[in-house]
Symmetry: D2
């Protein structure tokens, strides 16, 4: 049970909520059912690993979709399911006044919104544009400005939870944007996630996700270094973990996601670092943290180092393993 | 209440125990009372800030003491209280077969045990030697070997908890040494601390303390960098802390000892970083971690960096502030 | 003499050329005189600390200028000197088919070229656009693409040498772009600098400058750490520098720009770190190196650290001092 | 020629002397021949890879030897050659008043001098004790104190130059100790090396070697990161090296020992990183630098990182390769 909870933690790599700790929010089920009556179509751009199950959850809640993806194949199953598929972001903007985008990088997001056939070319006044991509907060702010010029509202709402949580509708959304529009965004996001947290002005959703993942990376590497040092100094791994977790060294990486095989069940380290949150994804998020720190002139001495370490790991064959495999990376013994 | 708990956490800088989490151990009260009947004298060497209150707690439990300190003044109040003061470690060894040492550095410990007038010059066969100094585990092992040659037993039992916990008898002892002797050590240590944890072979007590403090330093700096970055990205500090603490970035430094003024009460950051665990003490412990990592060839990329950062802080006027002041250190704005 | 040479090294902060080491190049004087005959107007955008003296050197060589700067005052003295001042980058593009831009950041460069009234709005086919700003190589490549669409040629040619070299016409230009156009660029750049180095495709000029400055920052910090450690270990600074410079530790920072006061004459460390290459400028260039490394997934473990160290220094009052003041930053003694 | 010179540079890994740059010193040949007349026996302890050829060079200069090594086999060929072999360091001290020790670690040196059968047990008043091991300067100082108590003189004289230079008598000695005794030390060391540099008080010989190697490690890693970044940004490696070497990024690692295959001949990078100065040896020296920095509270932010990087490399299969293989270590591409 605790293990499965943890495994969900593992699946999402980032977020888990202790019972009773969820931020206060209107009953989302209620919100959704309340709005079951009149459902106008919702635009959805980006049907990849994450977007696909997210879109399906919107359908389950009765929302007709206007679909677009650069890869037509990605749209096929939605077309078969009777949803309307169009041929560009601007076409989506013509047919829907609520649009959700789920894209891999800042570049893709810029293209989808400001490109030659981008959303902003034909967006309707008063439209609600929700970007659930994980991108540079500075880009989110820029897009919000452009949207405002067109009389539309842009919000950043990066998700946490990975494919598993996307399928089960248990994603967490960190939302940044005009507070007055949060309820409207929550109505849609609540159909795809179990937690929708309002973080403040546009860009703060991205900021919150980036900050959490940077601290996560630092404490995970720190836990791996500490466990490795303790073991070499003769401590039993389980006993050391127990001592740390009763003490001031305690962190999520030590008590809920320990990177040392044999210390915990139901986490990637118990399964040869399969599943969980991949090293390349962590390296990508740390790249965003680095960019944000550089542009805001914020010193991140350990954050930069963590970024470089995960970068090295990607080049050393760890890219597809869970990010807790940094223990294995550090562990390798000198051969004499 | 929680605050005061935290403040004790603060006072000790290192250790706190959640209710019901204490490692299983014979009722210490029982142990102590059981042995009230026949109390043979206990040697005590090192009556500094920590040693002084520790020795007094032994007295409270009815143990006569044989006292020595390099500074005669440190012995005076014990002499006035009727305890026996002698003029060298070897004299202590002549008069007591259970000796506790509480010294500032590895050098002092080596001198007290192996010096010209050291304990080992006249230690009795079967004596129990407990060193509660925080020193290099390699030195503890060396002293244990030398003691064994003399037919005595040496255990390392570094304390955590600072002066406050020393006075209240709430110290934590991490004990390394022959397991058969643990009960005997526990009988004495239980009179000075509320937690006595057996860690394994000699040196592992030091190892456990060093490991916890290294991870603590890393996660504290990481928390400070993360909070600072988030604030510069527009997040409210309290909201960011709440999000981190519900998520995978959670650590003791973020949820129990947050370094950002205004986020928590009852911690040093709420009191201009007064009290708590001083930056120089953290720098010293990180130096020991560094030495242990170097001698065991254990890579500590973030641990080394943390060591250097606290070293820099000591040179920038933060030496007497609590180690969470690293937030303030990073926070300083560029003047243009 | 050697000192003054060094001082020029200091003034430029980056580049110096040992006698007889200049890269082979057509005699620039010759080139310039050869083209004295027919001089068509040259556009010049950005008349700041660097642009101002650079533009004047072009005038000295007989080139009529078409001037624009966002700050009208910056244009006044050129207007008084009879040069033509216009009111936007696009106006410059209408009147000149060779344009030089010298701007502070990537944002400014993007605005000047791709903005609403940017150069590319009215650039003539076949125009030669030379950007001497120091910006992200990725931006240079992007601008080159856009220019090509308009039938124009864009080259990046960041300068090294600071205001002193700009005045004396001793700048170094690192040029990236189509090789066929290098001679044309060289004709103009040779009037402002004593070294014009062709680095390869567009963006490589920026890359070369960024790479040199990253290695410079690393070796300067390394030299400062090493000299400080050696001094604390009892070595005489001058003797240590002499030993390093005869040995494999030798680098430009140790033998031509030593950061320890008293070791060398004619360098900023001999003058309370005044003049030279400011810490903020180094921090800015390291930010560009970091961005390039992140986008190309190149691990820069020491480069990232150097970036963070200069970032910290800017927040600790060193921003206006020469970057060799890192020795002073590390030097500060612990107060006990 | 230059190449072979460099290769010697490679062999020594550390030191090379540009023609005419050798520190002024009495003609060593002269010194040696002058003393050919009356040669009293010289004690020699430690006949390993380095000690063996060093001892032979002393023999060539006509010095009778008193030999000891913990491994009797190591003494055999000297015994066959008619030299006197004894059974402990103290026996050497009884028979010779000039003793040279060449040992692998601080522990071995302490044992040889202060051990149960150590030199200091029977050292004659006025004896000259020269330790050519590379060890912690703090240990050298300690041994010097103990020697002084016995009326003997201890000097630290770590060598640089590796086995090749040891055989050819081209070692460099960095000497620390009482200046009055330098000439006497020089007489012996000059028979084994071509450079004997006086560095100051005892311990400074070790300090000089450690400092040079730390800066070497930092600039080598910096060069590797820079070349790798430049290549990924599209620069030609040879052109980039040329630009750096004409500029402020220039260092021994870039201009005399470039780590990128194809840029230079006659260096390890041109020979699959064979030969040269092994990564484990660099890691060992960085460990000593780290220890010295920790004990003197000297911040070495990049030095610590360099230590950790070489430590990691040892665990990743680079231990036997030349230390310039850090380029290869960083170079590995991400597999997607």
């Amino acid at each position: 049970m605790a293990a499965s909870l943890r495994l969900r933690g593992a699946a999402c790599g980032l977020w888990y909520w202790r019972r009773g700790q969820r931020p206060a929010a209107a009953s989302l089920a209620a919100v959704c059912s309340r709005s079951m009556a009149s459902k106008t179509p919702v635009g959805f751009i980006g049907l990849g690993n994450m977007g696909n199950p997210m879109a399906k959850n919107l359908m389950k809640h009765g929302y007709p979709l206007i679909i677009y993806d650069v890869f037509p194949d990605a749209c096929k199953e939605f077309q078969d399911a009777g949803e309307q598929v169009v041929s560009s972001p601007e076409d989506v903007a013509e047919k829907a006044d609520r649009i959700i985008t789920v894209l891999p990088t800042s570049i893709n997001a810029i293209e989808a919104y400001s490109g030659a056939n981008g959303i902003l070319k034909k967006v309707k006044k008063g439209s609600l544009l929700i970007d659930s991509s994980t991108i540079d907060p500075a880009v989110s702010k820029e897009l919000a400005k452009e949207a405002e010029k067109m009389g539309a509202v842009f919000m950043d709402a990066p998700v946490s939870g990975g494919v598993g949580a996307a399928r089960s509708g248990n994603l967490t959304f960190m939302v940044g944007g005009v507070e007055d529009e949060f309820a409207a965004a929550q109505q849609l996001l609540g159909c795809m996630g179990s937690n929708v947290v309002y973080c403040g002005a546009v860009g703060t959703g991205q900021a919150a996700k980036i900050c959490n993942n940077m601290l996560l990376a630092i404490s995970m590497i720190g836990t791996a270094e500490t466990m490795n040092l303790g073991i070499r100094l003769g401590l039993d791994p389980k006993l050391l973990a127990k001592i740390l977790n009763m003490s001031s060294g305690r962190c999520w990486s030590s008590d809920s996601y320990n990177p040392v095989p044999g210390v915990m069940d139901g986490v990637p380290s118990a399964n040869n670092y399969q599943g969980g949150f991949g090293t390349t994804l962590m390296a990508k998020d740390l790249g965003l943290a680095q960019d944000s720190a550089t542009s805001t002139k914020s010193p991140i001495l350990l954050g930069s180092q963590a970024h470089q370490i995960y970068r090295m790991m990607c080049a050393k064959g760890y890219s597809q393993k869970d990010f807790s495999s940094v223990f294995q990376f550090l562990r390798e013994e000198e051969t004499f």
